[in-house]
Amino acid sequence: MLEINDIIKPENLVYGKTPVLTDSVMHYCPGCSHGVVHKILAQVIEEMGIQEQTIGVAPVGCAVFAYNYIDIDWHEAAHGRAPAVATGIKRLLPEKMVFTYQGDGDLAAIGTAETIHACNRGENIVIIFINNGIYGMTGGQMAPTTIEGMPASTCPFGRTPERDGYPLKMSEILATLPGTCYVTRQAVHTAAHVRKTKKALVKAFENQKMRKGTSIVEVVSTCSSGWKMTPVNANKWMVDNMFPFYKLGDLKNE
Amino acid sequence: MKEEIIIAGFGGQGVLSMGKILAYSGIMQNLEVSWMPSYGPEMRGGTANVTVILSDTRISSPILHEYDTAIILNQQSLDKFEQQIKPGGCLIYDSNGITHHPTRKDINVYRVDAAEEAVKMNSTKTFNMIVLGAYLKVKPVVVMENVLNGLKKSLPERHHHLIPINEKAIERGMQIVNQI
């Protein structure tokens, strides 16, 4: 009879969790994109061999506990202030690898000034921007990136530009700034897209190693709880409604 | 010894730098010093004044409301500070542009036509040093050697070649000051 220990052998291993990811159970909802992005980020840190040099800046939002999941030194930031915190770290520790991990409310609403000015100074950091068009942690309120007509708890009948203003294409704005070297918009809803996003992260950290300026990796994401959809429907809704407005691909690559 | 001085005039007349040179001269003479300017938008083209205190003991308040000596370089400052001179104190002023002259009888009033003299000396920039000379003649609180050392300290090295002309201006001020 085949014992379990006969199977668990190095030569039979087809997939392993990167040790940069901790054993903590993630608090993210089923279908949430954060878990996937965390995993590939941890893999990139492991594969590039930069675990001991990397300092992450965690935002306010669902990813506030990112420091429980990725085994590096972390710094909390107040809502929107991550690029300023990262600036302080990187300016004083220019040899280290520094990234921020921010949601749309953090990066594109309350932290707009910090984001634009860090990018405009060309701070040599990586900004990972999770854009799910909604405030997940506080319970599904409208975000600066909520698309027209999309409902949220503070616009229950859909976003109306006359009342709520227009959804903000932050990456397009950041791509115009001379301080940014790489601005890309990706997604993680299929295996192929996950691979592309991972490549984008590698490129972003390599840019930092080469001191090229600010790299921004936007990930168009789902929030099935906030959107009140099943994970499968959320992915489909994202493809049908978000992608036509937030087009995937590189906005800048210098 | 304690000497409490207000220097007041237009921005650009060298009021603040005269005060600074005086303060540096005080340091050279091992005195305690303080230099407190008016600051802010009024510096830009309007009136400027600075309170300088020289003392052989620790200086308490750097801001004063009465003075041993007022050095006055325009009408507004004369109007404002004449009444704030201690009885028996000194008022030194340049009459250039002054239409209402000092009226107090319980103070010593001195006049130095420094603006006119600076033009004569073909060196309008040394105007404030002529005024300083007048002050030092009236109140020799620091010796000339320490004034020159103070000048050296407060001027950047690249301007040190200007020290002789400043010295000349100070001496000229000493000569032309008159008690009214």
Partner: protein
């Protein structure tokens, strides 16, 4: 005269001292009356000599968060601003206090509220010593009264900030910032190396080696019991400051029948008041708190056993007077005399207030 005695403004002394004691980073935003701090630093180009970073940020909000990041790395970081800018920093300061990140913040106070005036005031006392931002926390607050102390308090501030892992504020004002006096700068010290930081500040986020757990700079504890425990730890720290770090200076207190309590530039004015009073035979003394948090309550209580009354003199509508009253605990009457909105009281008007409120009262 020794070569090391210089004549400079309080604001310049802050900058010169910062370079000399090995500060790693300054992040700030211009505002009157303290812009000379950053201007002096930029003119000195310390990045070429000590390696100090100087950066003009896009706002005071960004500045204080750059301190949060840099301080979290165990670096000596500082900013300076004036009242409206310090209000913008309150969010950051409560995070720094909550996450126990050391830093130095200089407030060269101007008159308020609102945009107010650029002239000197002391109306930010409550904001400085009672927290300022949300939550139960305290800054260590130093109140220099001379240009020399502006220079000295930079070193003292960083010593205390790292001893307690707590933000320190220098609460100055336009008088001390703008005036020039003699100053002897602190002796030059090189910046900490990364090895020294690892040794001195093992909590710093310098990158996680395999030999230790990850360091996380955070003020967040979602479980109430954990947050309460964290608060108790902070409170115990503030208590320790009260026991160990109180600083004050006395003038003519030994035989005083009447007492003035004043800090910073007001204390300079009041020294003169004491001089005039003593000439007139009035037994007036002055206690000058050098630390506003922790406050010299015990000494004021002692003096209350001896004097007939106390006058708190502040360039505010009456803020420190509350701490003086708490210290005295009803033993003698405590009055307030102040000027507002950028006005500086004269020594003689303070004496008049002493006469009316304390002696006549």
């Amino acid at each position: 005269m020794g070569e090391d005695i210089k004549l400079m403004k309080g604001n310049e002394a802050i900058a010169e001292a910062a370079i000399r004691i090995g500060v790693d980073g300054y992040f700030g935003y211009p505002i009157t009356p303290q812009s000379e701090v950053m201007e002096t630093l930029m003119a000195k180009q310390p990045w070429d000599t000590t390696g100090m970073v100087v950066l003009q940020a896009e706002s005071e909000i960004a500045s204080i968060n750059m301190l949060y990041g840099g301080g979290g790395c165990g670096k000596k970081v500082m900013t300076s601003s004036s009242s409206p800018g310090i209000s913008l920093m309150q969010e950051g300061l409560t995070y720094l206090a909550g996450a126990e990140v050391p830093c130095l913040v200089v407030n060269v106070v101007r008159g308020g509220p609102g945009l107010g005036t650029i002239q000197p005031a002391q109306s930010d006392y409550f904001q400085a010593v009672k927290g300022g931002g949300h939550g139960d926390y305290s800054l260590i607050v130093l109140a220099p009264a001379s240009v020399q102390e502006m220079a000295d308090h930079v070193k003292l501030g960083f010593d205390l900030a790292f001893k307690y892992r707590n933000p320190v504020m220098i609460l100055s004002d336009g008088v001390i910032g703008q005036m020039m006096e003699k100053v002897v700068l602190p002796s030059a010290k090189s910046r900490w190396t990364e090895e020294e930081i690892k040794e001195l500040n093992p909590w710093a986020t310098l990158g996680k080696p395999k030999t230790r757990e990850r360091n996380v700079i955070t003020s967040l504890k979602l479980q109430s019991d954990e947050m309460e425990e964290h608060n108790h730890k902070l409170q115990a720290k503030y208590q320790r400051m009260k026991e160990e770090e109180v600083l004050f200076e006395e003038f003519n207190c030994a035989d005083a029948q009447y007492l003035i309590v004043a800090y910073g530039s007001s204390s300079r004015v009041c020294q003169k008041t004491v001089e005039i009073a003593r000439d007139k035979g009035i037994k007036l003394g002055l206690l000058r708190p050098i630390t506003l948090f922790p406050f010299p309550s015990d000494r004021i209580y002692e003096l209350a056993q001896q004097v007939k009354g106390i006058l708190s003199v502040e360039m505010s509508a009456g803020q420190m007077v509350e701490d003086v009253r708490l210290s005295v605990n009803g033993k003698v009457p405590v009055y307030h005399y102040g000027r507002l909105g950028g006005m500086v009281p004269s020594p003689s008007e303070v004496l008049k207030a002493v006469d009316e409120k304390l002696i006549g009262g």
